[in-house]
Amino acid sequence: MQSADVIGSGFSETPKLNYLTNGTTLKSWLLTKDHKRIAIMYLISVSVFFLMGGIYAATIRLELLTPASDLLETGTYNKVFTQHGILMIFFFLIPSIPAVLGNFLLPIMIGAKDLALPRINLLSLYLYWLGGAIALYGLMQGGVDTGWTFYTPYSTTFSNSYVLAVGVGIFINGFSSILTGLNFIVTIHTMRAPGMTWFRLPLFVWAMYAVSLVMILGTPVVAITVLLVAIERVARVGIFDPAIGGDPILFQHMFWFYSHPAVYIMVLPGMGVVSELISNFSRKKIFGYEFIAFSSIAIAVFGFLVWGHHMFVSGQSIYASMVFSFLTMVVAIPSAIKMFNWTATLYKGSIDFSTPMLYGLGFMGLFLIGGLTGLYLGAIGLTVHLTDTYYVVSHFHYVMVGGQVVAYLGGLHYWWPKMTGKMYSEFWGKTSAMLVFVGFNLTFFPQLILGYMGMPRRYAAYPPEMQVLNIFSTAGASVLGIGMLMPVVYLLHSLVYGKPAGDNPWRLPGLEWRTSSPPPTENFEKMPVVTWEAYEFGEDNGLDLEEDRRRDLAPVG
């Protein structure tokens, strides 16, 4: 029982000086080098971008309520879906889990005082703000209508919108992402506490490592690609210009070299969060730790070999398409390994259906559909029928919203007591988790059918016989929207009225639960020494399941 005193009792007082109270001026926030404060500032910023992207999404769904393009002109509609994509992907999905949850938790989980390069971390936040501001300027001026993919030659030669400003914004934002990834890898290599070996790392940290690899090796390529597009717009000539013998498909190669792996930037952190949730809320050591850890790395590596599956119908050589199609099937294997291991972890676990776990289980269901529909799209023949239909739209929303956003919300609920020291209302938490799951499926499952029927994406109008399913979809979107807005309310409410959470409200063994909530500026009172394996439940670790049950029965004060 020597470590029992380390684990929070659940009733300890909030310490007098934590990272939130250590300096309260605006300056102490804007010039902070504390990874936790930077994470909070990221949290606020990505929420703003998420809200804006969500408003665009709501507009799209409203327009598609009726077959005619009556709410928006077609030109406006092009801008709306483009901006929805740009804001959501570059300014919400990519930074969300790494920059918010990763930033906050990675150093704590490995027992470090901070990230290895705190000033670089702050710089990365400022680059994110700068990139975001420039992109927003472009949107205010009139927006972009190229689709988030910026395909040439439309984006370089013909589009009459603010491609340049938005492109520069994305370029700068890319370096924010690169610096975050760089910081994480350095930190994981050099800042682990004594006893924190590689195979004692929480799987979330492994996922952060894998995602950082993708950020460092992939993002610079999209940066140079966007830069080439920007130069080409200014110079009115360039290498993607078919008029002088350039090849627009080269743009697609360079763009997707990053943007397919970017899908894994979005979903790998989600998988990391879910690995935490599934194991911890089943009160059971995760099944196949090494397999999950290495499958994250495998996804990061193989994710770089499949980008051509976005170009099956764009003039790419059929032989290259065959190779890319085959490798696309291969990359499904590590994802499947994770799914099987999570399922095996649940088996005979003592499952606690708290809000985070509901999100985690939701992730498993939704990501399963997202992944399997991806195999259909990776099949080189079938994709000819499905390309550019709502099947594709639905597929990637299953992966990105059903996968990443759900995992992000799960992680946010899971670590909210640690980040703020306050507990939110469990009732409202569970309600919102259910609404998100139901609303999401109602929104996007009809789109799978619509896509299979042949409804093309990126059009404001569609044939009247497709209206019923579109109405379902829009109705689902409203449910989903409510489900996602609810956390804003009850989480903010908990800041003021929430019960003190205690240091270890979920009674878990991880390092982040062995410091106070909210943690002090340097994370731990003294340098922790790790003597236990990851996800080790049991008496030796001060976590007695019987004791847990007794306490569950007792009224909590």
């Binding site: 290599h189 390529v221 070299f257 051509g308 790419q316 890319f324």
Partner: protein, 111 residues
Amino acid sequence: MAKDPEHVHMEHDHMTIPKYLGVFAVLVVGTILTYWVATIDLDFIFPGANTLVALLIAFTKMACVMLFFMHVYWSPKLIWLAVVASFFWMAIMFAFTMADYFTRATGVFTT
């Protein structure tokens, strides 16, 4: 905390001024060689032989700079890994992009 007398910087005393000058000489010779060899038509060996020779010299020069000027030779394995991985990833980008271009049916539409 007092300074640790055992604490040795990893790059200390590996390179001396004569060694630096030696590496420098190799780089200069490489530059002159690549300049000179580019004026000779090596296509009789096989088409593109000039490019291959130029790249071989460039890689040699790069290796010299990296190993000795940048001290990679004495660096931990992780640094080696970072270097190798970034070149490997660039090779992935080259290989899969060219896999498309080399197998495209270019010229089918020419008359």
